[in-house]
Symmetry: C2
Subunit: 242 residues, 2 copies
DNA sequence: ATGCAATAGTTGTATATACAACTATTGCTA
DNA sequence: TAGCAATAGTTGTATATACAACTATTGCAT
C-alpha cells in the first residue's frame, strides 16, 4: 500500500502526506474495514489545507481501491485492502468480442441446488443451503472455449432476476436490487474434471485457466462464478510501471 | 476504452465529454501511439472549460493507462491502448512475501545467447541476435515454486547492469539508464517442458500458470520475463465493479 | 408511533487564480 | 559552429469559492 512517488530528501507534496497518513492508519489496523474516514472538511482542518487538496488524497486512494466513497454519506475503508497494481486482465467476454471473433453463448441449465462444501465457504453460507446454479457455455466461431459456472446466493437475489446469464455480467442484472461494491478474483491453472472436459471437448490432460470471481454487495457475497478456459491466452493490461 | 459512468438521458459532466472526445480520437486511429494530444490550455479553449476541468480529463485517462504525461513536455497517447480494468494480479514476489512465507531465490545462470524465433518476435529482434539470458528459481519455505526466465535486450541495457536478478524487478535496475514506460503481460495455463519440470520438481502433467511479461522503454522492448509456477493460486485485485 | 419535511453534512462538478517545476526551443555570444 | 542563457510552453501543486446532488438524521405534525 505504498504511496510515495518521490525522490529522497524532498518534502512530499501535501496530498501525499495525507495519503500516507491514511494508509498508515489502515495498515496499523486503527481504521478497520468499513471504518468511516474523516470527511474532506475534517481533513481540511486537520492538515490545514484546502478542500481540493484533501479531496485529492481521498480520490486517489479511492482510485487505488483503498477507500470507497459515497456521495452524501462519506468515505470508508474498502473491504479489502488494495494491492499493488501491476497487471490487469480484462473481462473475458470483452476480450473475445474485440478480437473480432464471433461469440455466442448457451445457457445449459439454471436450477436451485444445495451447495457443496467448497461453494458454501466461498459464498459464506452454511452447508446444504440452497443457491441458484447456472452453467453457460461460451463459443468462439462455434467452438466451445469457456465454461462459466455461476452460483448465486438466493437470499440476496430475488428469483425473478435469474433468467438468462448468457449476455449479462453480475453488475448488469444486480445493480438496482443489490448494488455490487466489489469483486475478487482468484486465478489458477487446473486440469478440468471429466464433465467439464466433455462440455469443452478437450482431453483431461489439457491445462486450463480457471478464474473464480466472487461479487459482493454490502449484505455479503452475492455470487461465485467459476470460469474455465483451455488453451486461451489472455492479454493483460498495460499499467505504467512507474 | 469506455468512459461513461452515467445513467441514460443525463448529460454527462464536462470532463466526461472531454474524455470521450479523446477516446474517440484514439479509437478511430486519428491519434496514433505517441501522438501529442492537445495541452491543458488548448482543451480549455476548445471546450470552453477551466483548466482544472480539462486537466481532470487528461489525468483520469492517464491513470487508466490511455495517456502518458510528462511535465514540461506534454501529454501523449500511450504505447498500448488501455483495457477495461476488471481484474488485477499482483506482483508475484510481493504476494509471496506478504503471505508470510520465507522466500528466497537462486540465480541459476546469466549468459549471452542467440535468441530463438519466439523470443526474437517478442523482443522485436532479428533471428540469432544476442540477448542476455538469466534463470532465477524462487523458493517458498525451501520448496521451488516459480521459475523466472528473463531475456534482456543487449542493445538497450549495458552489460554491467546485468548481475543479480534474484532481488530485482526490471524497473529497479533499469530506471536510471532506460526509463521503463510500460509493461504488458500475457497469462496462460501450460504444461512445462522437461527441463522446467525438473527444476521445479514437478511432473510433466501438472498444469502451471505462465506469465510472460514484456517491459518497454521509449527505445523499444527491453526485456521478456517468463514466469512459470505450478499449482499456485493468485489472488487478484479488488477493483470496484462500478 | 408513523410518516413526512426540513436540515445538516458529505461528496460531485466547475471555475478562477497563482506560482513552482520541468522541457524544448530560440537566439545570442564566444 | 558550439555552448550557454533566456524564454515560451507544459504539467504539477495548491488555494478559495460556489453550487449541485445525494444521504442520513432530526424534529415536527398527524
Amino acid at each position: 500500500m505504498s504511496v510515495t512517488n518521490l525522490k529522497f530528501n524532498e518534502k512530499p507534496a501535501k496530498y501525499i502526506i495525507i495519503k500516507q497518513h491514511i494508509c498508515q492508519k489502515i495498515e496499523s489496523g486503527q481504521w478497520p474495514q468499513h471504518y468511516k474516514v474523516p470527511s474532506e472538511n475534517e481533513l481540511t482542518q486537520q492538515f490545514d489545507v484546502s478542500r481540493m487538496t484533501a479531496r485529492r488524497a481521498l480520490q486517489e486512494l479511492t482510485e487505488q481501491g483503498i477507500l470507497v466513497r459515497s456521495q452524501g454519506s462519506g468515505t470508508y475503508v474498502a473491504t479489502f485492502k488494495s494491492q499493488s497494481s501491476l497487471l490487469e486482465i480484462r473481462n473475458i467476454s470483452d476480450e473475445i468480442h474485440e478480437r473480432g471473433h464471433k461469440h455466442h453463448a448457451k445457457q445449459l441449465m439454471l436450477k436451485s441446488i444445495a451447495v457443496t462444501e467448497e461453494v458454501a465457504i466461498l459464498l459464506n453460507l452454511k452447508n446444504n443451503e440452497h443457491v441458484f446454479f447456472s452453467q453457460v457455455l461460451h463459443f468462439e466461431n462455434d467452438q466451445a472455449i469457456q465454461l462459466e459456472q455461476r452460483y448465486v446466493n438466493a437470499a440476496l437475489v430475488p428469483e425473478y432476476l435469474l433468467q438468462d446469464f448468457t449476455q449479462t455480467t453480475p453488475h448488469e442484472y444486480l445493480s438496482d436490487v443489490a448494488p455490487l461494491t466489489e469483486a475478487t478474483h482468484e486465478i489458477e491453472a487446473v486440469l478440468a474434471d471429466d464433465e467439464v472436459c466433455q462440455l469443452l471437448n478437450i482431453s483431461n490432460s489439457e491445462p486450463c485457466l480457471q478464474v473464480k470471481r466472487r461479487t459482493w454487495s454490502r449484505k455479503g457475497v452475492v455470487s461465485l462464478a467459476i470460469l474455465t478456459a483451455p488453451g486461451s491466452k489472455y492479454r493483460l493490461g498495460n499499467h505504467l510501471v512507474f
